[in-house]
């Protein structure tokens, strides 16, 4: 597996982990996502050793929860983000993370293949749209998603009034939605 593996390819890798407990497939997934998860955790304020520990726990959780991954609802990247985020709250912020009840896809109820393909393609387009946002807006979204930055903390960092921050984030998300149409 190389860096430009598409989201749909990662879905196939997840199936091998789910159905065959394939450690080679997991190793492929790990080589791509582990450095990103660790970078995400360090950007969020964790030191190197805590980020490494937390990343390993997150990647182990990917294996343990593989049956709950639904490729008609999330890309593999998005799903791993949610696991890494929850680990960050758990390990680094030392808080419980309330999560909605699971809507798993089981062996007897595979999601529709068309839905899977559509969702994976949309995720790639969203990533492209995010990449083409003006620098300021992209930075704000990144700040919101890395680390424990509340809207008011973002305001304090950038010196912008809170109302402006909120409308900028909303504007950025609106643009994302339009870019995906």
């Amino acid at each position: 597996m190389v860096a430009d593996t598409g989201e749909s390819d990662w879905v196939a890798v997840m199936r091998r982990i789910r159905d065959d407990r394939d450690q080679e497939a997991f190793a492929d997934l790990f080589r791509y996502y582990a450095p990103r998860v660790k970078a995400y955790l360090m950007r969020g304020g964790a030191n190197e050793s805590l980020a490494e520990e937390c990343m390993q726990e997150a990647m182990a959780t990917v294996w343990r929860k593989v049956e709950l991954f639904d490729p008609s609802r999330a890309s593999v990247t998005t799903w791993i983000f949610t696991i890494a985020r929850n680990r960050r709250i758990d390990v680094i912020r030392k808080e419980r993370r309330p999560e909605p009840e699971d809507l798993p896809w089981g062996p007897e109820a595979e999601p529709d293949q068309e839905d899977v393909v559509a969702l994976q393609q949309e995720s790639e387009r969203l990533a492209e749209a995010l990449g083409s946002l003006p620098e300021k807006q992209r930075l704000l979204i990144e700040q919101a998603y890395f680390g424990d930055l509340s809207h008011s903390e973002i305001a304090a960092k950038t010196g912008l009034p809170l109302g402006t921050i909120k409308s900028r984030i909303r504007l950025a998300l609106d643009r994302l939605r339009h870019a995906m149409k």
Binding site: W63, R64, E67, T78, N86, P98, P100, E101, D102, Y145
Partner: protein
């Protein structure tokens, strides 16, 4: 489940997706999303933004033995984790049941006056979340607080001068809202309410305008 008319705000969903929302509010979000397919879909969209951010955040150097160490963790722990599902006929969706350690009958209520009972759930500091049991036809007790408030109806319904909130509906109150919610006749109302400042019930005072700040 009746139709849900009052949903989470984009700000709430973004903060929850980013992981920056206080635990008390996160519990209300997770519980509402468990009841509301529309907000689940919206949350999925915010999570997808998070996925893109993760993909673009660069790569940290991982340890040489990192993969082996992770495989060892997998071997040492549980192999597969089961889905967390809400029990059939339960009033509390799965995330709330985990905090209560059971359903409605497991709640340890405390009286707060006017027939109303509450149970504060254990969360981290900074915000508080409580269950409220309001007898049918009773006004929600007047209370003052200085922060935001988010109220999710689990059972029954309440009305104020402006609207009706039934099961699954969530009210995100802002500073402009001064209202007197009353539980509907016929059924007691069970709510889950999060506040980000200590909440003071004013059992003696007839009515105090509530002050809210939108998150």
């Amino acid at each position: 489940m009746s139709k849900i008319n009052h949903h989470l705000t984009d700000e709430m969903l973004l903060s929850y997706s980013a992981g920056s929302l206080a635990e008390a509010f996160s519990l209300v979000v997770a519980t509402h999303v468990s009841m509301c397919d529309e907000c689940r879909a919206r949350l999925d969209a915010f999570d997808a933004v998070g996925g893109s951010v993760l993909n673009d955040c660069g790569e940290a150097v991982v340890g040489a033995d990192s993969l082996d160490a992770t495989l060892a963790r997998i071997t040492a722990g549980e192999d597969r984790l089961p889905a967390r599902k809400t029990k059939a006929d339960a009033v509390f969706p799965a995330p709330l049941a985990e905090y209560v350690d059971g359903d409605l009958d497991a709640v340890k209520w405390t009286r707060v006056g006017g027939g109303v009972r509450q149970a504060i759930l254990p969360t981290s500091k900074g915000a508080t979340v409580r269950l409220l049991h309001i007898p049918a036809g009773t006004a929600v007790p007047d209370h003052g607080h200085n922060g935001a408030e988010m109220t999710l109806v689990l059972k029954g319904a309440f009305r104020d001068e402006f609207d009706r909130f039934g099961p699954g509906d969530v009210e995100v109150a802002n500073e402009d809202l001064h209202h007197t919610p009353v539980a509907e006749e016929g059924e007691d109302c069970i709510c889950l309410a999060a506040t980000d400042a200590p909440l003071r019930f004013n059992a003696i005072l007839p009515r105090i305008a509530q002050r809210f700040v939108r998150i």
